[in-house]
């Protein structure tokens, strides 16, 4: 039973990260109908920037708490600029092109960013540890540390904030209007290019936070880390119903739990034939199952529109 609670905790932590990244995919898809495959790389760049800034600040004898906060802010700022630029340079010129063109461009941007990161930070793994102790707590046989609690709490606050922004602010209203009918939104005086840029920047800021979280959780960053994380977050977005914010949140947490429980029990279930390193298989098994049985995702129900 211990392993069950432990895997639930691990799943919630990883699921929180998936949810934040999945939100970036789903917001862009909701507005442009585009799968921004470069989004995973934005997460990676966020982690790399955070690490670089953190190390520099600690070397300059900044206080640990201040250094962590500034490095996170810097990562968010750089990622927002990156997200803005990706849309401006790679996607906007293709706004009216056939759907395949921006999709292939997205994969291209992803490869460019990966290679850029490799040139700057090298191929090796870099250790990413917080400059303060993370105390471990025993909860009913399972162990959870401060970092993990922090990840889940911060993710929850951010998700609540995002839902408020999208559903109750003027900017969020404009985002939903553009997503539904760009021409009509233009007639209301909405500059749709600005709304699209804002959406990319918002998603990228979440990606930076997620990159920071996943790095401190695993204690490691690598130029290739965004690829698998991006694919899984995309899976989570599809699971919840792509284009749907609550769906991305639910899908992210569910995928984290499925993966974690799957990895925890796959050894027992197969008599030791398959080990926990098969964890990645679960995500893509889920993706295939969703696409076969419920292509619109868990919450992706379409509202009937009357003429």
């Amino acid at each position: 039973m211990d392993i069950f609670f432990q895997q639930i905790i691990n799943g919630l932590v990883q699921g929180s990260v998936y949810a934040l990244v999945a939100l970036g995919y789903t917001m862009v898809y909701g507005i442009l109908g585009l799968i921004n495959f470069a989004h995973g790389e934005v997460v990676m760049i966020g982690a790399m920037i955070a690490l670089a800034v953190l190390q520099a600040l600690l070397a300059a004898a900044f206080s640990p708490v201040l250094a962590v906060l500034i490095s996170l802010m810097m990562a968010m700022a750089v990622c927002m600029a990156l997200g803005y630029s990706i849309e401006r340079i790679a996607y906007r010129p293709l706004r009216n092109a056939p759907r395949l063109a921006p999709l292939i461009t997205a994969i291209g941007v992803s490869i460019v960013l990966q290679n850029l990161a490799m040139m700057i930070w090298g191929r090796e793994y870099h250790a990413f540890t917080l400059p303060f102790n993370s105390v471990s707590h025993q909860i009913g046989g399972a162990i959870v540390n401060d970092v993990q609690i922090g990840i889940v709490v911060v993710a929850l606050i951010i998700m609540a904030g995002l839902l408020w922004l999208v559903h109750h602010s003027r900017m969020g209203r404009a985002m939903r209007a553009v997503a539904e009918n760009p021409a009509a939104a233009t007639l209301m005086g909405v500059d749709i290019n600005r709304v699209i840029s804002n959406t990319f920047m918002l998603g990228s800021a979440l990606a930076a936070i997620a990159g920071f979280m996943v790095s401190v959780n695993y204690g490691i960053v690598h130029y290739y880390m965004g690829f698998m994380l991006g694919l899984k977050a995309f899976t989570a977005a599809v699971l919840g119903g792509i284009g749907n914010l609550r769906g991305a949140m639910l899908g992210g947490v569910l995928l984290g739990l499925i993966e974690s429980l799957g990895a925890g029990y796959i050894g027992d279930l197969t008599g030791g034939f398959l080990g926990s390193h098969y964890q990645d298989v679960f995500a893509f098994f889920v993706l295939i199952a969703v696409l076969v049985f419920r292509p619109s995702g868990l919450l992706g129900e379409k509202l009937a529109e009357r003429a």
């Binding site: 003027r170 939903r176 209007a177 939104a185 005086g189 909405v190 500059d191 009937a304 009357r306």
Partner: protein, 236 residues
């Protein structure tokens, strides 16, 4: 004084010249209608004026300023509002959110709230349904949302594209009553309609558009009585 002056406007749409050089003027406070059969270029004219389509050539002056270089989303702030064909409401936003989208370019919060209440007095049906998703409303109610949303931007020039389309006769009457009310409040209106009789009865002046060119124009009452209009649009 003329609020809007259109001179020799040409629009090419998908390789076809859909407006072959039309000219029209609308004075401040007037209710002018543009009638014509399907495909005559009525919607194209409105879209070009709203900035959704870019004309190939011609002049469009609004309040003595050229409009052509101004992007569509900035024309709203200068008082031009289009209620598009098919209404263009946001089905997944509530009725109230739709109306607030109409006030998107305005920054006066308190006055926006007052205006919102004014719309609910004008359309009590919308007040009952303010928190309902607009997509669940009937066609007539959606037309009310679309018009009321346009009014929320405080338009100087309100353009309506086929407001009676697909509505029950009773609802058409209600919509035209509202158009007259809005006009009486001093808003300049350019009304595009297939229902020529209703449109000419409501308007002061009219233009007849045929295959991208204006073939007739004049006082609405004269057009209503003219043989050509009678034959072509009123089935006499």
């Amino acid at each position: 004084m003329n609020l809007l002056e259109v001179k020799d406007l040409k629009v090419t749409y998908g390789g076809i010249q859909s407006l072959k050089g039309i000219s029209l003027t609308i004075a401040q406070g007037e209710l002018v209608t543009l009638i014509g059969s399907n495909g005559a270029g009525k919607t194209t004219t409105l879209k070009a004026l709203a900035g959704l389509l870019h004309p190939a050539s011609g002049k469009v002056n609004y309040q003595q300023q050229s409009l052509l270089q101004i992007p569509a989303h900035q024309r709203v702030a200068s008082g031009i509002s289009l209620v598009p064909e098919g209404r263009g409401i946001f089905a997944r936003l509530t009725v109230e959110e739709n109306l607030l989208m109409g006030a998107y370019v305005r920054s006066d919060k308190a006055e926006t709230a007052t205006d919102l209440e004014r719309q609910y007095v004008l359309f009590p049906r919308l007040a009952e349904r303010r928190s309902q998703l607009a997509g669940t409303l009937s066609g007539g109610e959606q037309q009310m949302v679309a018009m009321s949303r346009a009014l929320m931007s405080h338009p100087t020039l309100l353009m309506l594209d086929e407001p009676s389309m697909g509505l029950a006769p009773l609802m058409v009457e209600k919509i035209f009553e509202t158009i007259r009310d809005i006009s009486a409040q001093g808003v300049t209106i350019l009304l595009v309609e297939q229902n020529a009789k209703l449109a000419l009865e409501a308007a002061q002046r009219g233009y007849v558009l045929e295959s991208g060119a204006i073939t007739l124009s004049g006082a609405a009452s004269e057009l209503l009585g003219s043989d050509a209009v009678q034959r072509a649009y009123l089935g006499a």
